[in-house]
């Protein structure tokens, strides 16, 4: 399964990519903001998207709304510092499937990724 990591920080993309490799997901595409992600999803058709919130050009929520509006069905896990209840509700309403708050340990990210994929496969 291809996983798309969307984060404006190259460091964070590298950290997330390493975590994914540790649980067997090594087919990874990267995007540096929402606009870049819209182009990448059309090309690589990911089975899972890990999405930051605060990014230049197009933020994570605007990407998510645009992606769902275009019929994008891949499960989306928000990986972000935005953890207030109102933000979580906004993200779920926009179509997010799960939420990982930065800072996180590799174990926490792995748990959320595996759970999201299991739910998507069971649906």
């Amino acid at each position: 399964m291809k996983v798309l990591i969307v984060d404006d920080s190259k460091t964070m993309r590298s950290i997330v990519k390493n975590c994914l490799g540790g649980i067997g997901y090594s087919d990874v595409e990267e995007a540096c903001d929402g606009q870049d992600a819209l182009e990448k999803v059309a090309q690589c058709k990911p089975g899972l998207i890990l999405l930051d919130w605060n990014m230049p050009n197009m933020n994570g929520i605007d990407f998510l709304k645009a992606y769902r509006a275009k019929g994008g069905k891949a499960p989306v896990v928000m990986v972000t510092t935005e953890s207030e209840k109102a933000r979580v509700i906004d993200a779920i309403r926009a179509g997010a499937n799960d939420f990982v708050v930065k800072p996180f340990t590799p174990d926490v990210l792995a748990k959320h990724v595996n759970r999201t994929i299991e739910k998507a496969q069971a649906a």
Partner: protein
């Protein structure tokens, strides 16, 4: 500045260093004003705050500490001159500010994308209508500091036990 205006930044810094860098971090006594902000350090990551809390957060490092922290975060050697170095400092500032913001329950606060200054002798100057607190930090024996500069708060109350 209310006591609770500083403690979220201390808790957030500890959380980020414990979780993402796996470096023990301890805190000295926060001081009001700009006189204790280091003026000869090499690396500063800055995040702007807007909404119910207006101001800026700066994470300031001497060169060697910055390199150690970046490499602990990235899990690999990172060249001081590389794009990845500044990116990692920005992400550190972003995570600390974001984790602190989350503790201001009920307040609507937005944080900016990070800006990073790399080079000797940079210094932090806040706007005259802000109250500034410098929080001295120690990560595994190396000094750095968090500077929190906020508007519309009562400075005399910024005595927070670290």
């Amino acid at each position: 500045m209310q006591p609770n205006d500083i403690s979220p930044f201390i808790k957030a810094t500890k959380s980020v260093f414990d979780t993402m860098l796996r470096l023990p971090v301890s805190f000295g006594k926060p001081t009001l004003g700009q006189s204790n902000i280091p003026k000869d350090w090499h690396v500063t990551g800055i995040i702007g705050l807007s909404g119910d809390l207006v101001g800026a957060v700066a994470v300031m490092f001497p060169r060697a500490t910055a390199k150690a922290c970046v490499e602990a975060l990235a899990g690999m050697e990172v060249d001081f001159e590389s794009e990845m170095f500044a990116d990692a400092i920005g992400e550190l500032a972003n995570m600390i500010s974001g984790a602190a913001k989350a503790q201001y329950d009920g307040k609507d606060i937005s944080i900016s994308c990070p800006s990073v200054i790399v080079g000797p002798g940079n210094s932090f100057h806040s706007h005259s209508n802000t109250h500034t607190v410098c929080i001295p930090c120690d990560a595994d024996g190396s000094s750095f500091c968090i500077v929190v500069s906020l508007q519309n708060v009562v400075a005399s109350e910024a005595k927070v036990a670290a």
